[in-house]
């Protein structure tokens, strides 16, 4: 098969090679090539392809990749690569190489729209190319701009396809193209029914295109493939506007029209017997206008009754652009089925987003849950520990170019640095304030502003990049609707890991036992031989260290700035408080509630994310009023303030 095709290609070349070379053709259309436009480049591309020259696909690919340069004096086009100030030129037809200074040459930069058209022109060459990436590119081009003419070559190429992924993609595209462009209506309906099983954006696009409608208005319903008929009074103003556009009615007389009429017909300080000074109410103006209209000086007023009369005497409808009712019926049924599946998938996706948000909140708050929840210490600088962790990641990436290794180093380093910072803070400040919780809040706030400004002084206010390793790029795509980025999945598992770790430390280790003992009764714990100072220090360090790790994770998915901590601090406190202080499960519940709630509100009002945040905070305020101890409330003596 392949031999046959290349033989044909060879024959074609031989036939037309002497006709002309590509450069001449390019020169004939030099202006179009140098400054191409999506709408006008089509015929030029057709001409190029029609020559059948073997260098055409190469030229098109290079052109699309911005590797074609034009000599500014002679206008000759070259394929070129730039190194420093010199260009290595390749002749388009002969392939002869030469070098020249870049100064006299201009790079051609076809824009995205033109590149897409070039992509379509390349399809016929790439579809049977031995290189799989080229074949994949061809399929992408088809998916972007499906055309009827592509169906036959695509079907022809299916047989020779040995790559299973590409083969599946080709079959998929054949179904999509058949649904719209197949000759036989039965084939189309079969393809449409096949599409009903898919939730991809592409297949929905095809169904929607088949079901495309155009609005119409007439005195009686025409004989066409009618999609819907409207009640004229459902949206009277819009329908009336449609009537006016179709020249079937006169436009409404607007207040501006009335005002203009008044101004145009002032006679002796009066408009239709009304003195101008009295025209400061709508009623007076209406009277004056009626007088003018009765005299025939202005067109009669078109008001609501006239509008409604016009609406009642017409029909408003949508017609399918597709004439065959069988096809539209099949497409409608398929789309209904797809939409049910999509709605389900969207719910699942929303759930995933909520889960992801909850895990981010959880990660940001879990350190706080230890320091605030278990120790009862308010640490307003917690957000700044998150920031320190993120900057640690950034600094390590500066020195370690391999992102995977950098992250692996950054996580423990961030923990170590924030652990140390937390311990230092506990030693120097917090231990002096254990019995004055409100003042802990203020002192740690002082530290927070100092740290934030310090970060600004060191790193600047510009956001810094913290780039995830390549294996965390991209998303886990279950379908076109349900997908979640790997980085969020990683954060989710990190959150789970810390949940397990902290539960383990608190419930199963000596340290955890001591922490709980000191939390419940420091005096008694001390008399049992536990050193409360040491325990407090370690607990605080642990909470801070986790904040540092959270910082690396948050920096990876969002941004690293000196103010990033402040974005999370209030949210984190609320997570802890809503969940119930002194309980890791409570923090989990709080994070889930807040994440879920935020996504839920966003879903109701997708155009305004800010409103979602406001309502969520209001909800939390109310929630705490009615359940001040949080979702998971401690019972007994530990619950005392």
């Amino acid at each position: 098969m392949r031999i046959l095709l290349s033989a044909i290609a060879f024959a074609l070349c031989a036939m037309t090679a002497q006709a002309q070379d590509l450069q001449t053709l390019l020169q004939d259309n030099a202006a179009q090539i140098a400054k191409p436009s999506r709408n006008a480049i089509g015929p030029v591309l057709d001409d190029m392809v029609a020559t059948g020259l073997p260098q055409v696909p190469t030229f098109l690919e290079q052109w699309s990749d911005k590797n074609v340069w034009q000599n500014e004096d002679t206008g000759t086009f070259f394929i070129a690569t730039k190194t420093g100030d010199t260009l290595t030129l390749t002749d388009i037809d002969t392939g002869a190489q030469s070098t020249a200074p870049a100064d006299g040459f201009k790079q051609l930069k076809p824009n995205g729209g033109v590149r897409r058209v070039i992509g379509t022109a390349l399809v016929q060459f790439q579809l049977i190319d031995p290189d799989t990436t080229r074949r994949a590119a061809a399929l992408e081009s088809i998916a972007r701009r499906p055309e009827a003419a592509q169906l036959a070559p695509l079907m022809a190429s299916l047989d020779g396809e040995d790559d299973p992924a590409l083969r599946a993609r080709k079959e998929n595209l054949i179904t999509i193209l058949s649904a719209r462009f197949a000759e036989d209506p039965a084939d189309r309906i079969a393809a449409i029914e096949a599409l009903a099983e898919e939730t991809s954006v592409e297949s929905r696009a095809v169904l929607n295109q088949i079901l495309a409608t155009k609005p119409g208005v007439a005195t009686t319903l025409p004989d066409a493939n009618i999609a819907t008929q409207y009640d004229p009074m459902a949206d009277p103003d819009a329908n009336h506007a449609a009537l006016v556009t179709a020249d079937l009615a006169t436009p409404l007389t607007t207040p501006d029209d009335i005002r203009a009429a008044m101004e145009a017909h002032i006679i002796d300080g009066r408009v239709g017997n009304t003195p101008t000074a009295q025209l400061n109410t709508d009623a007076a103006r209406a009277t004056a206008y009626a007088t003018l209209a009765a005299a025939g000086t202005v067109p009669p007023l078109i008001g609501i009754p006239e509008r409604d009369n016009a609406l009642q005497s017409h029909v408003f409808f949508d017609t399918y652009t597709e004439d065959d009712p069988a096809i539209t019926t099949a497409a409608r049924a398929a789309l209904d089925q797809v939409e049910t599946a999509v709605a389900l998938a969207q719910t699942v996706d929303l759930g995933l987003d909520a889960l992801s948000l909850a895990s981010i909140y959880f990660l940001a708050a879990i350190g706080l849950a230890i320091t605030f929840g278990v120790m009862g210490v308010i640490n307003m600088a917690h957000g700044e520990f998150i920031m320190m962790g993120a900057y640690t990641g950034y600094v390590i990436q500066l020195f370690v170019p391999d992102y995977t290794i950098a992250i692996l180093i950054a996580l423990p380093t961030a923990f170590a640095i924030t652990f140390a910072a937390g311990v230092t803070m506990e030693r120097l400040v917090i231990r002096h304030l254990y019995h004055r919780p409100l003042e802990t809040l203020l002192a740690t706030f002082g530290i927070s502003i100092a740290l934030q400004q310090l970060a600004k002084n060191i790193f600047g206010t510009q956001a810094r990049p913290l780039t995830s390793p390549a294996w965390l790029d991209g998303a886990w795509v279950i379908s076109d609707v349900i997908q979640i980025s790997y980085i969020r999945i990683a954060i989710f598992f990190l959150a789970l890991f810390f949940l397990a770790l902290i539960l383990f430390i608190l419930k199963r280790t000596r340290l955890g036992l001591e922490v709980r003992a000191v939390t419940q009764n420091p005096g008694m714990a001390a008399s049992m031989g536990i050193n409360p100072d040491r325990i407090n220090m370690l607990t605080f360090g642990l909470g801070s260290g986790i904040a540092g790790i959270a910082g690396v994770a948050i920096g990876l998915y969002a941004k690293v700035t000196s103010e990033m901590g402040a974005d999370y601090i209030v949210q984190s406190f609320m997570t802890v408080v809503v969940g119930g202080v002194g309980n890791v499960w409570g923090t989990l519940a709080g994070a889930s509630l807040i994440g879920g709630l935020q996504k839920g509100i966003e879903w109701f009002n997708p155009s305004n994310t800010l409103a979602a945040q406001t309502y969520m905070i209001l909800f939390i305020i109310l929630f705490i009023q009615f359940r001040p101890k949080g979702i998971v409330a401690l019972k007994g003596r530990a619950a005392a303030d």
Binding site: P437, A443, I449, N457
Partner: protein, 388 residues
């Protein structure tokens, strides 16, 4: 009664005398009188500082005396500013619109006037509908009432819910912080009808006084702020001096004990919380016409935390401490960030105060909390006791 009150609190008299002297001095030296030794922009700064002192004493009463660390009092301050700002904007725009319509042959209908005003005020933020929240903006009296009523009502409802549920201590602090965060996020939305992030601007132009120079307007507002501060000081000094003051301070020191003594603790707290909110609203209404613009950034949680910082540095539990803290820190802050402080060259590194001032402030705050819980006001104790 009044005599005894003053007699029991000589510091009130001292404070009022100092304030009067200061006000008199600034007025004499200002551009309005022609001496011009103090520029109009500095008079505005001083006037604004007096308003900050007023909210600081409110904060001191609610925190230093009643023990409620509210991190949301700037919300009330902002509401006061918005309430007066709405009238200022509306009235100024109405004058422009009416003048424009008066040049036309056909007199305008009320609807046309309202549309034109809406278009002027909201056109710059991409809308022209008059939100319902502006219904009373045409009436100075109603908007002035709102300066007092809205902060009062909000504080009343919020406080009633919170105190009823026995939300205390740090929980309450975080809740108040959430309240001001929610309010500022709400106002950041354009849909809130208060021009979103742009806020209300041009507030220094007082309708009806378009021809009066800013030098005069600034001194009038300065005097009004000074009067409000004096009155507020007197009022709060009176509130905290009587039996009520003792109960309130008792609540601060041991809430449970006061409750067992038979006092209805919640009512006292609610009263203090609400009146301080009202005073904050008044302070805001005086502040923003001097600042010229109010926007949601003004009531971000950080502002309320700074308020606590001022009071703590000045010295809690004494009204003059709050005034000193607010005036001292806010003026020092603008001196440092305004580039007034000379840079320190360490040879290898130059300390620029615009960059390092916040670090200094943050750390000094830690030091004050740790070692000088009485703040700057504590120095007075030292001075007063030493000679005796």
């Amino acid at each position: 009664m009044h005599n005894t009150f003053i007699a029991r609190n000589p510091s009130v008299l001292w404070f009022l005398a100092a304030l009067g002297l200061f006000t008199f001095g600034v007025t004499i030296l200002s551009e309005a009188t022609g001496l011009g030794l103090i520029s109009t922009s500095f008079v505005k700064t001083l006037g604004k500082t007096l308003c900050l002192c007023l909210i600081a004493i409110a904060m001191d009463v609610v925190w230093g005396y009643c023990g409620i660390l509210s991190l949301g009092h700037f919300a009330f301050f902002g509401i006061g500013g918005y309430a007066i700002g709405m009238w200022l904007m509306y009235a100024r725009t109405e004058a422009i619109v009416l003048q424009n319509f008066s040049a036309q042959t056909i007199p305008a209908t009320p609807q046309e006037i309202s549309d034109a005003i809406g278009n002027q005020i909201f056109g710059v933020v991409g809308s022209s509908d008059f939100p319902a929240i502006w219904s009373f903006a045409d009436s100075l009296v109603l908007q002035l009432a709102m300066v007092v009523l809205i902060p009062g009502l909000l504080a009343l409802v919020f406080g009633w819910l919170a105190f009823r549920s026995r939300v205390t201590g740090v929980y309450l602090s975080i809740l108040t912080q959430a309240m001001t965060l929610a309010l500022s996020l709400y106002l950041f939305q354009n849909d809130s009808g208060l021009r979103g992030n742009n806020g209300l601007s041009g507030l220094q132009n007082i309708p009806g006084f378009e021809q009066t120079p800013q030098a005069t307007i600034s001194i009038v507002f300065f005097l009004a702020s000074a009067f409000a501060l004096g009155a507020g000081y007197l009022f709060f000094a009176w509130v905290i001096s009587g039996k009520m003051g003792s109960v309130v301070q008792g609540i601060r020191d041991n809430e449970a004990r006061v409750r067992f003594l038979g006092y209805h603790v919640e009512s006292y707290k609610l009263f203090i919380f609400t009146i301080t909110a009202v005073v904050s609203g008044i302070a805001g209404a005086l502040y923003y016409p001097q600042a010229g613009i109010i926007n949601p950034g003004e009531i971000a949680p950080i502002a309320s935390i700074y308020l606590a910082v001022w009071v703590a540095i000045g010295g809690r539990g004494r009204l003059y401490g709050a005034v000193i803290g607010a005036a001292f820190v806010s003026l020092l802050s603008s001196w440092f960030t305004g580039g007034g402080a000379p840079d320190i060259n360490l040879g290898f590194y130059t300390i620029q105060w615009t960059d390092w001032w916040l670090v200094l402030l943050g750390l000094s705050f830690v030091v004050v909390t740790l070692y000088f819980p009485k703040g700057i006001g504590g120095l007075f104790d030292y001075l007063v006791r030493k000679p005796s």
